[in-house]
């Protein structure tokens, strides 16, 4: 049973880890856009 749970947990760690990197990239891009807009306004 431990092998079964290890496989399922590993699968979701990989997927959640990848989603985490996407979220981090999105946050960075959002910050870049905000900075750009602020520069444009001044």
């Amino acid at each position: 049973m431990s092998y079964l749970y290890a496989a399922y947990i590993a699968t979701w760690i990989i997927h959640v880890g990848y989603l985490g990197t996407l979220l981090r990239r999105y946050t960075r891009l959002k910050r870049e856009i905000q900075e750009f807009n602020r520069r444009e306004e001044t």
């Binding site: 049973m1 092998y3 079964l4 290890a6 496989a7 399922y8 590993a10 699968t11 990989i14 997927h15 990848y18 989603l19 996407l22 990239r25 999105y26 891009l29 870049e32 856009i33 750009f36 444009e40 001044t42």
Partner: protein
């Protein structure tokens, strides 16, 4: 489209939960392997999803080589990235399944080795895209992807034409499967396919937006020295 995404995300989460329940609780226990055989419901759909993504990457790369279409280039990048994630799942769950069944974590069997080579090809594709700053990067990546995709049928058919440690395919091959197991396998595949499609969609939007921002910043950097030379203010320039 922005309103549709959360609805699809909730539906996919529900489908994944249902598929998980089916795999862990509802599926019959296999006689010889016992419960560990349930890894099959994650391992096989992940492999199929990765193959489909690599095939989409292949066609998008050909489309880019023919038409130099930016959207095709983004689709190629996105499908390679998500494909690598699913291929990683296959390479991780496979040894975890092999250990209690074969007694070993890994063997340099043809199917396993070709799958590892496939993963390495697409990782190198992503490394090329990430670290090459040449204007020819999308073109080089597309050529690499076209050759890399040749490994997908080799991986799939390796167990048909060669004697390997890996079991025969359960659909259309020498293996057989209980209809209930097949049903649950297909539910899991559908769930993972929907999940992959949603992730690809999000990644596509992110990449398209990133390129838009990069182009704007590059344009701004190009215009800045001229405005400083001519003495015009930053706000006074035409875009």
């Amino acid at each position: 489209m922005k309103r549709v995404f959360p609805i699809l995300a909730v539906l996919t989460a529900a489908l994944l939960s249902y598929a998980l329940f089916q795999a862990l609780v509802a599926a019959p226990t296999e006689q010889s392997m016992g419960d560990v055989q349930r890894i099959f419901y994650y391992h096989v759909p992940s492999a199929w999803t990765a193959f489909i993504l690599f095939f989409i990457n292949f066609f998008a790369s050909i489309a880019y080589l023919i038409w130099r279409n930016t959207k095709a280039d983004i689709v190629a990048l996105v499908t390679a990235e998500v494909g690598v994630v699913f291929c990683t799942v296959v390479l991780v769950t496979g040894p975890i399944w092999a250990r209690p069944v074969w007694g070993i974590w890994w063997t340099w069997d043809l199917r396993l080795t070709l799958t590892l080579v496939l993963w390495l090809i697409y990782v190198s594709y992503l490394v090329l895209r990430r670290f090459s700053s040449s204007g020819q990067t999308p073109l080089l990546a597309a050529v690499l992807a076209v050759f890399g995709a040749l490994d997908v049928p080799l991986v799939y058919f390796s167990i048909w034409f060669f004697r390997t440690q890996h079991p025969q395919p359960v659909i259309g091959g020498g293996g057989s499967i209980d209809p209930r197991m097949l049903h649950i396998l297909l539910i899991n595949w559908l769930a993972f396919s929907c999940f992959a499609a949603l992730v690809c969609w999000s990644r596509y939007r992110l990449e398209a937006l990133q390129r838009e921002v990069d182009e704007t910043l590059a344009l701004e950097a190009l215009l800045e020295p001229r405005s400083s030379r001519t003495g015009t203010s930053q706000t006074g320039r035409t875009r």
